[in-house]
């Protein structure tokens, strides 16, 4: 999957842009994400329902995956069942 690909959650409103990916299954709300929304929404898994925040970057512990939330939702992001974590805010620009 190319960086820049937009993925939609099958279980909630979340949409992400892929910054980096390692080839595993990217999920939201416990269900695999796809470029199109499925006809039948998936159930939101309560274990992956902490919510996503607009503009936050989500990463895995190994630094292989990075997803940018471009539309927030009730689900939370994971790869192959392992929850992603929020990356720290960027520093302010030093100039313009």
């Amino acid at each position: 999957m190319k960086p820049g690909t937009r993925l939609k959650s099958a279980a909630d409103d979340t949409e992400v842009m892929v910054i980096r990916t390692g080839g595993g299954t990217i999920e939201c709300g416990g269900a695999p994400m796809g470029e199109a929304k499925p006809a039948e929404p998936a159930a939101l898994n309560p274990d992956f329902s902490a919510g996503t925040l607009m503009g936050k970057r989500y990463v895995d512990a190994g630094g292989q995956y990075e997803l940018l939330c471009v539309k927030p939702g009730k689900g939370s992001l994971s790869v192959d069942g392992v929850a992603l974590i929020v990356k720290d805010a960027k520093p302010l620009p030093a100039s313009d």
């Binding site: 190319k2 940018l68 960027k90 520093p91 620009p93 030093a94």
Partner: protein, 401 residues
């Protein structure tokens, strides 16, 4: 104008800035503002730094570049932070891109249409612009109104300045020149980096401000900050709207609840709607305003006009709008959009004196490689406080961090 022989042409729109400063001086009655001039306020950073007119590369550190896209459009991309370069593979749909190589980035721009890059760049939160877009928001927008406050004669306004870089701090500086007490509040983890990287400019626009550091992620610190805001007359911030919300600071509610509070939100492209999620800084906002296209029309060469010109134009505009709101006594949250303010300045200058504007743009376009115009360094009226030096005074309830 030129006094050292190597000094370049006047910065276009400096005369607009000058007329707005006259207005601010008249409305505030401040002799210190009356002593300012537009050429100094838009040009002092470039003069401090010995900037050279860079054409398609922005002056100073060259953080912004104008590049031709596949469809013939011109795409401006500002890359100041290493973290922003990590987003470039997603911008260009290319995992193999060498993100440190500016030539490779230009080649990637040439493979994509400008509109696609603009759409993806804005989703990614990158400061991007097209030379041929129209700003999406009004220059000045009253977003929220709140209760009135009657102030006693001679009241000295208190300004909580949460902003960084140039436009927001310049608003605080102009209000300070007009007599306000200003406290600059910074996060210890995300300070205003201009202090470190451009002290000559930082000192001019932050002199006389008290300095406090507050950990925005700490509940007690945040409560103390909100308590200070509730007794302030002005708040200036340049955060993205959602960033404030994520921090748990509800600007709209504070304005609705605090009599007379004037809250100035400095943004790249607007504080409401979709554009409130976009980022924008001075150079790319000038491109989004149509200024680079105007330069190409006048001179035949597209490029950046001035130095981050949207910043000083917005600083002056914000001070005028803020001062007027303060004078009304009504609490207001006012969104300031740097791209639209610059577009309005360009439009007003076109109406005011089209021949002079054309001549200035033509001269600027022809001056590639020349130095910025000489500006005499302004006098300092007060010292610059060390970061956090006044935390205990403004936030006695929290342990200084």
């Amino acid at each position: 104008m030129a006094t050292d022989g190597g000094s370049g042409p006047a910065i276009p729109l400096a005369r607009w800035a000058d007329r707005r400063l006259r207005l601010l001086a008249k409305e505030t009655g401040s002799p210190r503002i009356a002593a300012l001039d537009g050429a100094t306020i838009v040009g002092e950073r470039g003069a401090n730094g010995g900037y050279v007119i860079g054409g398609r590369i922005s002056a100073g550190i060259g953080g912004s570049r104008l590049m031709p896209a596949a469809d013939g459009g011109w795409f401006a991309l500002t890359l100041i932070r290493a973290e922003d370069r990590e987003l470039l593979p997603a911008l260009f749909l290319d995992a193999g891109l060498d993100i440190r190589d500016n030539d490779a980035i230009a080649a990637a721009v040439a493979r994509h249409d400008c509109a696609d890059l603009l759409m993806r760049g804005r989703l990614l939160g990158l400061p991007v612009a097209s030379a041929d877009e129209a700003p999406p928001s009004p220059p000045v927008e009253v977003m929220t109104r709140g209760p009135h406050r009657k102030r006693p004669a001679g009241h000295r306004p208190l300004v909580v300045d949460l902003s960084a870089i140039w436009a927001g701090p310049l608003i605080g500086h102009l209000l300070w020149l007009a007599g306000a007490e200003v406290v600059k509040v910074e996060s210890p983890t995300r300070p205003d980096l201009i202090r470190r990287d451009d002290p000559a400019t930082f000192d001019l626009i932050n002199q006389g401000k008290a300095s406090a550091t507050v950990d925005f992620t700490d509940a007690a610190h945040k409560a103390a900050l909100i308590a200070l805001i509730r007794r302030a007359d002005f708040v200036i911030e340049s955060s993205r709207v959602r960033a404030l919300r994520h921090l748990g600071i509800d600007a709209g509610a504070l304005v609705r609840e605090t009599p007379g509070l004037v809250w100035l939100s400095v943004t790249g492209h607007g504080a409401t709607g979709e554009a409130s999620d976009w980022t924008g800084i001075g150079n790319d906002c000038g491109v989004a305003a149509g200024l680079s296209r105007a330069l190409a029309d006048a001179s035949g060469e597209i490029g950046y006009v001035g130095d981050a010109i949207a910043d000083p134009l917005t600083g002056i505009t914000g001070a005028i709008e803020g001062w007027r709101a303060y004078g009304s006594g009504q609490a207001r949250r006012i969104g300031l959009a740097m791209s639209a303010i610059t577009a309005r300045a360009l439009q007003e200058e076109r109406e005011h004196d089209p021949a002079a504007l054309h001549a200035e743009l033509h001269a600027w376009g022809a001056a590639l490689g020349q130095k910025f115009p000489y500006v005499r360094r302004r006098e300092m009226f007060a010292p610059v406080r060390k970061p956090g030096a006044d935390t205990a005074r403004y936030f006695p309830a929290i342990v200084p961090c």
